[in-house]
């Protein structure tokens, strides 16, 4: 019996395994003496990702079940998993293109293998339905990113950034792991299934039960620890230093890979509460975190003339907007006819991807440009680009407009659906929470207006200002193709957002329906043990 289950889980993980295998191959290529072999690294990385996409899409034709709607060994391949896998691979292509020439020749193999491992980790976060698998997947996302920051460019700056990132990340991971262990205690198992949801919901409903405090603090610690991944207040401190220290393409990657992983992990943790986000202590915590993230992020970004730091701080604000959507929850307004968009989590998923593309595009363009031989970072560096390099200038403007949420860019559709679903949730929420959600949306909209100020400053610098010393693009095709693809995708999603939104909707559909509890012999012992634990008071 175990061997059959094992076989199923292996075939469903073929795309992830391809990434890992190619990662190993690429890592070995670092040792090659010949420079031409080392130069082939990005190409091999790219073909690995493309192969994974092909398997994911057409694998069933070859008889490889890539795990559509199957459950095995702590993994559930549902709509959310599909969304994460597809978006990770597609963004992966863009990321590889953008960072094609990034580190020096000798380190290229290590760099790209880390990128592949990180992407494989992200793809595992989607289907993970078990606290331990989830934690491992999250760390598989994060640990390679620390190394990538360190390798991304020469000099002491990236090393300093990587060190900070690593230590703070380890601390956040510890907080998450601590929270997970409490959840494990309450649910009596590591599985994130219907049984676990029942236990957590029961515990939360009954303030006198011994498991109540255990469950709440477990949820709080888990979510707060995960805030590090999405760089939300109060775990946002690292972001500006890390973005500035890393090479631009890596900063672009950091805006998507850990963020999507963190968002999906938060989904999975909050799923345990049955998405009762519009009531209880978790509501207030998320409310405050969202408001502080938006406001602090925007205010800090407003003062920046360094574009990389500005984008870093604005990333905090974007996490704040995403938290608004998480507060709204999935399909809150199922029965409400008057709502605009009733699905907060679908909106958030859509928004993460759009934000990821726009952010990557902006960083890719920054990475392309050089001023007097050094990388382009400040507003002054990008001034007057329109005159000399109109295509770069227009792509930059498109990215900024998307981040700003200007209609009809996809950034606007994202914000519209997030705020719309929050309003729908307000209709649905208990009276006390109604006004607070409305207030949250108002604060979010005001923050969007505030954010327009600094995005427009970049656009003005690029399009309107003159410069005596314009930045020079380095003649590199692959990053330019990557940037062009980012711009192209943004345009497609501006005028045809339906497919991505549909994918997000399918992903969010299953969030309210936890996977059924599978009674496996090996875990039943733990369950029994945990029931014992339940009966004795925790404090």
């Amino acid at each position: 019996m175990p061997s059959a289950a094992f076989a199923i889980s292996i075939t469903s993980l073929v795309p992830e395994l391809i990434l890992a295998a190619v990662g190993c191959v690429v890592l070995l290529m670092t040792q090659a003496k010949s420079g031409s072999v080392r130069r082939a690294v990005p190409g091999i990385t790219l073909s690995g990702i493309v192969l994974a996409i092909l398997i994911l899409r057409f694998g069933h034709l070859l008889g490889i079940s890539v795990g559509a709607d199957s459950i095995n060994g702590g993994l559930v391949f549902d709509g959310l998993a599909g969304f994460v896998r597809v978006s990770a691979l597609i963004l992966g292509v863009l990321i590889v293109l953008v960072s094609w020439v990034q580190p020096a020749d000798e380190e290229r193999g290590e760099f790209f293998s880390m990128m592949l491992f990180s992407l494989a980790g992200l793809m595992l976060v989607g289907p993970s339905a078990d606290l331990i698998v989830l934690f491992l997947a999250l760390e598989l996302v994060s640990i390679p990113t620390y190394i990538m920051v360190a390798l991304s460019r020469p000099g002491p700056r990236p090393l300093e950034s990587a060190t900070k990132y690593f230590y703070l990340g380890a601390m956040a991971a510890a907080i998450t792991a601590f929270g997970f262990s409490y959840l494990y205690g309450v649910t009596g198992g590591a599985a994130l299934d219907a049984g676990a949801v029942d236990r957590i919901v029961d515990a939360l409903r009954d303030p006198d039960s011994p498991a109540h405090n255990l469950a709440t603090i477990g949820l709080l610690l888990s979510v707060v620890g995960l805030l590090f991944k999405i760089a939300a207040v109060p775990l946002h401190f690292y972001i500006a230093d890390v973005y500035q220290g890393a090479a631009s393409p890596v900063a672009g990657l950091l805006g998507f890979v850990p963020k999507l992983a963190g968002i999906v992990a938060i989904f999975k943790i909050i799923s345990l509460t049955g998405w009762a986000t519009t009531e209880g202590a978790l509501f207030w915590i998320l409310w405050i975190v969202a408001v502080l993230s938006m406001t602090i992020g925007n205010v800090l970004a407003l003062r920046q003339t360094n574009i990389k730091r500005m984008l870093a701080y604005s990333g905090i604000a974007h996490s704040g907007y995403m938290l608004v959507g998480i507060l709204a929850g999935p399909i809150v307004a199922g029965e409400r006819a008057e709502s605009i968009m009733g699905d907060g989590t679908a909106a958030v998923l859509y928004y993460v991807v759009i934000y990821g593309i726009a952010n990557l595009g902006a960083f890719a363009l920054l990475g392309l440009l050089r001023v007097r031989g050094r990388p382009c970072e400040t507003l002054r560096d990008v001034a007057g680009l329109l005159r000399y390099y109109p295509s770069i200038a227009l792509l930059m403007a498109l990215s900024m407009f998307t981040l700003m949420g200007m209609p009809p860019t996809p950034g606007f559709w994202g914000k519209l659906s997030i705020f719309g679903s929050a309003l729908a949730a307000a209709e649905f929420a208990p009276a006390l929470y109604h006004d607070w959600i409305i207030a949250l949306v108002i604060i979010a909209v005001l923050n969007s207006a505030l954010a327009a100020a600094y995005y427009l400053r970049v656009i003005a610098a690029v399009l309107l200002f003159e410069s005596d010393e314009p930045a020079e693009p380095t003649p590199r095709e692959a990053p330019m193709i990557g940037a062009l693809l980012c711009g192209f995708l943004l345009l497609v999603f501006a005028f045809y957002p339906k497919p991505l939104m549909r994918l997000g909707r399918d992903a969010s559909d299953r969030l309210l329906v936890p996977p059924p509890t599978v009674q496996v012999e090996s875990t039943s012992a733990i369950v029994a043990e945990a029931t014992l634990l339940d009966e004795s008071p925790p404090f």
Binding site: P207, P234, L235, F237, A333, E335, M341
Partner: protein, 690 residues
């Protein structure tokens, strides 16, 4: 339903739906040519070809459309709309290309509602798209020869010109095809953008840059109202709709509009009217149009006379069911229209710049169309839009031809007696002027007379004012014509020694337009044998055009019968106006006889009633002051605020730095403090029973 219609059409609907995109494709090609730095000489080809394909499709669509529309009899089959107990039957059909913006997804909500990319086809669409594409094509061909210097080499920005014009035709076609208000607004703003870019085509000239800005800003005022109108529609209509009905689609809005209260309808109508006032350059938002003549002449002809400026009239005609339901809005339209018509006509009488005279005449003619809309005869207004497009484009292009040969001098005081130098232009201009003046049997006569008649039915005073304006129109038009072509030959020194007629590539399209200026009116006239009931014994107003428009959202009272006496009166007035102009300006006097005769009144007209100055005092300067105030607040106030907001983290950071040696520990401490605060907050909430 759609399939059934497609079978009766000559070409598939999907093919017609590609119409707007050909010019865009052409513009993109031209853009690529610019990027590749190819020779400018051939830059016009992609755009002219694209517009050509559109024009062919547009003309075929015009003849094909009546067969495609649902017939009145089987209107009951056209789905949900006719099922309700309302009288409104959707006269056209909506062709959805794809769903764009979700207003509620079918999976999660009861409502399957979208803002779609959909096109609406009815009689009005057919008429608009036919003349827009044909006139555009003529202007494009003309531009091939016009946008050159006197050696015949392409001007600087030749490629840019054609790329922008291609985008303009795309936007205008989108505006006409749009099947919902959001797409309409998109086309509306895109044509505005093209107008801005093309007015400022000679952006190095300060006056052109200023005019472009003025046009853009004045249009913003109107568009603000327009946007509010669309928001209001959404707000009012959405609660009434059911799943599957997109709340901003024309078909849905017009179906439910009757269920709104009178006040709401009037509010929506007036807000939409704001947009029309800006785009169609009506009082009080007309001020941008005369300045817009800073752009190249083909731009003035196409955008600022024939097509874009009629978008406001199109929009009101399209929203017939909304406006017809609000008599208040209609009355406002009539009042503004009459003011605009008279104001612009009098101003045109005392100008010397040919293009400006034509611009004021455009405002005046657009005001006629407004009056027609307000008098509940929108079909007459659309008829005038149609005929006006031909003769006004013709006039502007003739003016351009003169301007090109006179070395970009357009001041009527600087030249005269050009009849022998520019024989073709003279002949064409005469046709255009006669048509504009309402000379009997030409295109302008038929449409203008319908409007005058409708205004008499509305109120005799309005009718009389319209007649007087018609006389003034004839007078100022021929004042311009005589000053230009009659009298002794005088040339400005900029014209060089041997000015000659423009090349055939410019003259040929003008003949097409001139043909339109003569015969376009007969689309709206019936030939008859009944002597007593017709003009000159064989012509009767109200023809094919009006039947064509029956199947459209253009609703209003039917054109009343009778009024034949009016046709003779207005003919007489037009001829009298021309005669008066001949008497006073027939030999192109150097000293303006009107200036001496009318004195103060003439100076008032010449100075455009000082309205520009008044606007400057009333709006521009206070706003500039406000701008300075905001700038100062931004510099001091907001920055100060930010300083205060960031003071807390800064102080915290400073405090932390005292405790810590390096940033890393500080950050870690910050994280721990944050976590602690959150946990404490949770405890506090638990204790307080939140």
């Amino acid at each position: 339903m759609l399939l059934a219609q497609a079978s009766t059409s000559l070409l598939p609907v999907d093919l017609y739906a590609t119409l707007p995109f050909w010019p865009l494709l052409g513009a993109i090609f031209t853009g690529i040519m610019i990027a590749l730095r190819l020779k400018a000489e051939r830059a016009f080809w992609p755009v002219v070809l694209g517009v050509g394909v559109s024009a062919v499709l547009g003309v075929i669509l015009f003849f094909d459309l009546p067969g495609m529309l649902p017939h009145k009899a089987d209107a009951g089959v056209t789905g949900h709309v006719a099922e309700a107990a309302h009288e409104y039957h959707d006269p056209g059909f909506t062709h959805t290309i794809y769903n764009w913006i979700s207003l509620g997804d079918e999976n999660s909500l009861k409502h399957d509602q979208w803002i779609s990319v959909n096109f609406y086809f009815d009689g009005l669409t057919g008429i608009m798209i036919a003349f827009v594409t044909v006139v555009s094509l003529m202007v494009m061909i003309y531009s091939i020869g016009y946008m050159r210097d006197h050696h015949g080499h392409p001007e600087r920005g030749y490629e840019r010109f054609f790329a922008f014009m291609g985008i303009f035709v795309f936007s205008m076609a989108m505006l006409v095809f749009a099947g919902n208000f959001v797409l309409l607004y998109l086309g509306w703003e895109l044509v505005g953008l093209c107008s801005y870019l093309l007015i400022g085509f000679y952006y190095k000239k300060p006056s052109a840059a200023a005019a472009a800005k003025k046009a853009f800003i004045v249009n913003r005022i109107g568009d603000f109202g327009f946007a509010l109108g669309i928001f209001a529609l959404y707000m009012f209509i959405r609660p009434l709709t059911h799943s599957g009905e997109n709340p901003l689609d024309y078909a849905v809005v017009f179906h439910y509009i009757g269920e709104l209260s009178q006040g709401k309808i009037t509010l929506v109508a007036l807000l939409l009217l704001c947009g029309a006032l800006g785009k169609s350059a009506q009082f009080p938002l007309y001020v941008w149009l005369p300045d817009a003549m800073e752009g190249p002449s083909p731009v003035s002809a196409l955008i600022h006379a024939a097509t874009m400026v009629t978008a406001g009239i199109y929009m009101i005609a399209r929203c017939g069911p909304i406006f017809a339901a609000s008599q208040t809005a209609l009355n406002v339209i009539v009042v503004l229209g009459v003011i605009g018509a008279m104001l612009a006509a009098t101003m045109a009488m005392a100008q010397y710049d040919m293009k400006r005279i034509l611009a004021y005449s455009t405002i005046s003619q657009l005001a006629y169309m407004f009056v027609a809309l307000g008098c509940s005869t929108p079909a007459s207004g659309v008829f005038h839009v149609f005929t006006h497009a031909f003769f006004k484009a013709l006039l502007f292009l003739c003016a351009g031809s003169i301007m090109l040969q006179m070395g970009h001098i357009i001041d009527l005081r600087r030249f005269s007696g050009l009849r022998n130098i520019l024989p073709h232009t003279k002949r064409l201009m005469l046709i255009g002027c006669l048509s504009l003046a309402g000379f009997p049997l030409l295109a302008g006569f038929w449409s203008k007379d319908e409007i005058v008649h409708a205004s008499f039915v509305y109120h005799p005073i309005v009718g009389a004012l319209m007649l007087i304006t018609a006389g003034m129109t004839a007078y100022y038009t021929f004042r311009m014509y005589f000053l230009c072509f009659h009298g002794p030959l005088r040339l400005p020194k900029e014209a060089g020694d041997h000015p000659r007629e423009s090349p055939p590539v410019m003259i040929a399209p003008l003949y097409v337009l001139a043909l339109g200026a003569i015969v376009a009116g007969y689309v709206g006239v019936t030939f008859t044998m009944l002597m007593g009931d017709s003009f000159l014994g064989f012509l009767k107003p109200h023809g094919y055009f009006h039947h064509y428009l029956h199947a459209s959202t253009v609703v209003g009272g039917e054109q009343h019968g009778g009024g034949l006496w009016l046709m003779y009166v207005s003919s007489a007035i037009a001829i009298a106006g021309i005669w008066l102009a001949w008497v006073r300006y027939g030999d192109a006097p150097v000293e303006d006889p009107d200036k001496a005769a009318l004195g103060g009144l003439w100076r008032l007209w010449n100075a455009k009633y000082y309205l520009d100055e008044l606007y400057d005092r009333l709006f521009v300067r206070p706003l500039r002051g406000l701008g300075r105030f905001f700038f100062a607040t931004d510099n001091n106030g907001i920055d100060g605020l930010i300083w205060v907001v960031t003071a807390v983290p800064r102080a915290m950071g400073g405090g932390l730095r005292l405790l810590q040696n390096g940033a890393l520990q500080g950050y870690a401490l910050g994280m721990v403090i944050g976590l602690t605060v959150i946990v404490l907050l949770w405890r506090w909430l638990e204790i307080n029973g939140a």
